[in-house]
Subunit: 339 residues, 3 copies
């Protein structure tokens, strides 16, 4: 598909500097822009690329003032980054627009599917499953009995959702994710362990995104809960009975242990480990690779394993880098004192 | 299904305090207990919930003495937690009781299946595979040629087991687990690497549980061995030729490198890394996020990256938290000495 | 299949010490060697096993001089380890030699398959997919629309490759790998986040091996690129727009954040975390569990979280182990100064 700068400006509610009839058929980064593509400039650091880019159209912020000549047509908008993200999204929607129910899928007679649902080949939809309108279930996905999935949700290939779980509206769940596997619960019995059956479930609210091969365990009793707007990256582990507050963001390979409650709007770096039974406040920020061994108050910024206050950690670590020097200086002092 | 307190007390070999005819149809946590559910009280910390819970029946330890009024019927047993776990398990068995061979599965003509086996849709059972009685193979699972699986084992959806492996009795393998992929072995050849073929296998003994999306590599030669009773959480990596002793428990996202031998009854925290070719003693405990770079003796408790003795680590870390203070004090001492 | 020592010596271009007619039908480790197997001795540490092994044939380096008696026939070659690896590989090729297109696979009418391709049961091959000669696609694999796969590549069971990606020749991709899932990109919008669509792709060049359940995200725009000869272990996370230089080796559970560029011939230990937007030089070595927060120059060897120079890290860590001792000594010094 091709669009003119004029057509795009209308969609984005923007104004044009340059030729409104120039047309584009793809998106690009400004530093790699080719003729026939549209790009954007939001971060002033990238401004020099505007003067050399071959992209035909560049979206910029309303108040942007160029300092040199350039060849692209500009579209001026309120927020160039968000405008570009909208275009990306529209492009993406067109590309992944799968529909129809494959006759190679296995769908239980008791399952209920909404309007305009996509079910790919070799997907298995269990007994009493409900799937909302416009939801996409890609090939080779397993939806266990009694699980309910909302509207406009995308479940990519090979996702495994055990029985009795609830998935909300407008969620995106990437390939290989496992939802509702048993929590890791065992009671010691002499040298052995007895499995503690896990009969709870997982509740995922609206607008949640879950990255590929992430695992979310069902609760022992009750529910593991991912509140609305949470974004979880790839290969993350969420244990049984965890609760994650709204709009919290979790980077890849982080693990949250059983029964811990995370606040809203937290930012959690990659490879963080959080022990069980904690209660972490809203807006807490955790640096990558930190180990959280106790609860922190709202707004704390922490680092380390075990983690403590971020600024203090970095002061300690600055000394750690020179620790052999400190050791020698103490040796020297002891020698002098002896003298 | 509904059961009276009296019926449950008989199953659990317990005695009743209160109305033996009250009936329940689900299990609950004592702090969230609703009418018609059964709960338990084992940890004295939770005792206050007994006096407010709406659960109809609560299982308690034989010698428990309440200090206030409460509404629930009590069932007194030897060990309240284990009794409740038994109930959970019975409830779970009823729920996941799948059976039959789907005609949408692909089963090689040379495979041999025991009695009462479940094979779900789109599972692939390779040549010469043997599956024991009462074993469940969920949808979309791949069992490679010549692999043998014991009795009463559950393989959840999408598990991938390569050829020539052995899985024992009474195992539970969760969705997305990969067993028998190639060990990570490459021989340098100038700037490139030559792959070292991995022709060994994986042996998993009885009563092992493996969490979702965990990976266990086959041996280069010989076998990667998981001994009986081992419990492995989600997203764990077990490299080629590793051997894990009986009843060792490994939390999520831990990795064990090639040819390392772990002892029996170890407890390994989450996100631990263990280098290759070590020999770790029985009952060693490793704190979360530790890095194990050398062998430790039986019963050691260790922490750190690289790890050393737990108590000593924590003493060092207590000073680390105040390291900039120590630095300043040494500066001060040097100044005074100069004077 | 059985081979005589003489036949194997011819294949390996080696010379024989002992009975050339002894025959073998399997490979073994020298310390576990049984009659009828062939083993190798490269590391002098293992030499004592030669004098006790029951392996019928042992491959050794050309210049090896035994110091005691032994029963095996020797085959002398230029490099015993590489010669043995070649044998392993030949054995492996025979074992995994699957072929044919399953009529239970789903292959789009617009897909183009080369000669001698294997497609297993319940695989899904999307629209406009191209697959080169001699490539194997195992059961339950998903190849999204417009993806191209080269020749002699093996894609094991359950791999999920999204649309529009490129996979090279002679690659091995293990079970459960996800390639081309969305990068983790969200733009803050008040308390919420707006998803940034990810419309780029993943390019994997020739001779790359990727371990089970590893995830590689597609680029936002442009490509995530894995250059030729790269070896990636299990459960590794590669974020959007990352570029990995030729022949770099990455151990299990490591994560590389968005837009970071890794050099050639790097060696990266397990559970390493690398932040985004860095540029790491060729041949850099990173110790396991390190956290890389800044770019390092060619040939650096680093450790720590955040990482710095390896030797210096280890000096600091040696003091860290005795940090409470240092603290007490400073207390003592202060006391003495006061006096």
């Amino acid at each position: 598909m091709e669009f003119t700068a004029k057509q795009i400006a209308e969609i984005l509610n923007g104004t044009i500097d340059g030729n409104p009839e120039v047309s584009v058929n793809n998106l690009s980064k400004i530093e790699e822009g080719k003729p026939g593509t549209i790009s954007f400039l939001a971060n002033p650091k990238y401004e020099p690329h505007l003067y050399s880019t071959k992209a035909s159209v560049v979206i910029v912020n309303k108040d942007f003032t160029p300092e040199k000549d350039f060849s692209a047509t500009l579209i001026r908008v309120e927020d160039a980054y968000q405008a570009f993200a909208k275009l990306l999204d529209a492009y993406n929607q067109i590309k992944i627009n799968k529909s129809g129910i494959s006759d190679k899928a296995h769908i239980s007679g008791s399952a209920r599917l909404g309007k305009n649902v996509y079910v790919g080949e070799f997907a298995v939809i269990g007994d009493n499953v409900k799937i909302g309108d416009n939801t996409k279930v890609y090939p080779q996905t397993w939806i266990g009995d009694n699980t309910t999935i909302g509207e406009n949700t995308t479940i990519f290939a090979g996702v495994k959702i055990y029985s009795d779980n609830l998935i909300g509206n407008n969620c995106t769940i990437h390939a290989g994710v496992v939802i509702g596997s048993d929590g890791f619960g065992f009671a010691p019995q002499g040298d052995n362990y007895m499995k503690v059956a896990q009969i709870g479930n997982v509740i995922i609210e609206d607008n949640v995104e879950i990255g590929s091969n992430t695992t979310i365990d069902r609760a022992t009793l009750g529910s593991t809960i991912i509140h609305k707007g949470v974004k979880i990256d790839n290969l993350v582990q969420i244990a049984h009975n965890v609760e994650i507050g709204e709009n919290t963001v979790i980077a890849a390979q982080t693990g949250v242990s059983g029964s811990t409650k995370l606040g809203k709007n937290m930012m959690i770096g990659g490879q963080v480990g959080i022990v069980g039974h904690l209660n972490i406040g809203d807006e807490v920020k955790i640096a990558a690779q930190s180990g959280i061994s106790k609860s922190f108050r709202k707004g704390s910024i922490v680092q380390g394993s075990p983690a403590f206050e971020y600024v203090k950690y970095n002061k300690s670590y600055a000394v750690f880098r020179n620790l052999s020097n400190l050791w020698e200086r103490v040796n020297e002092l002891e020698k002098k004192i002896k003298e």
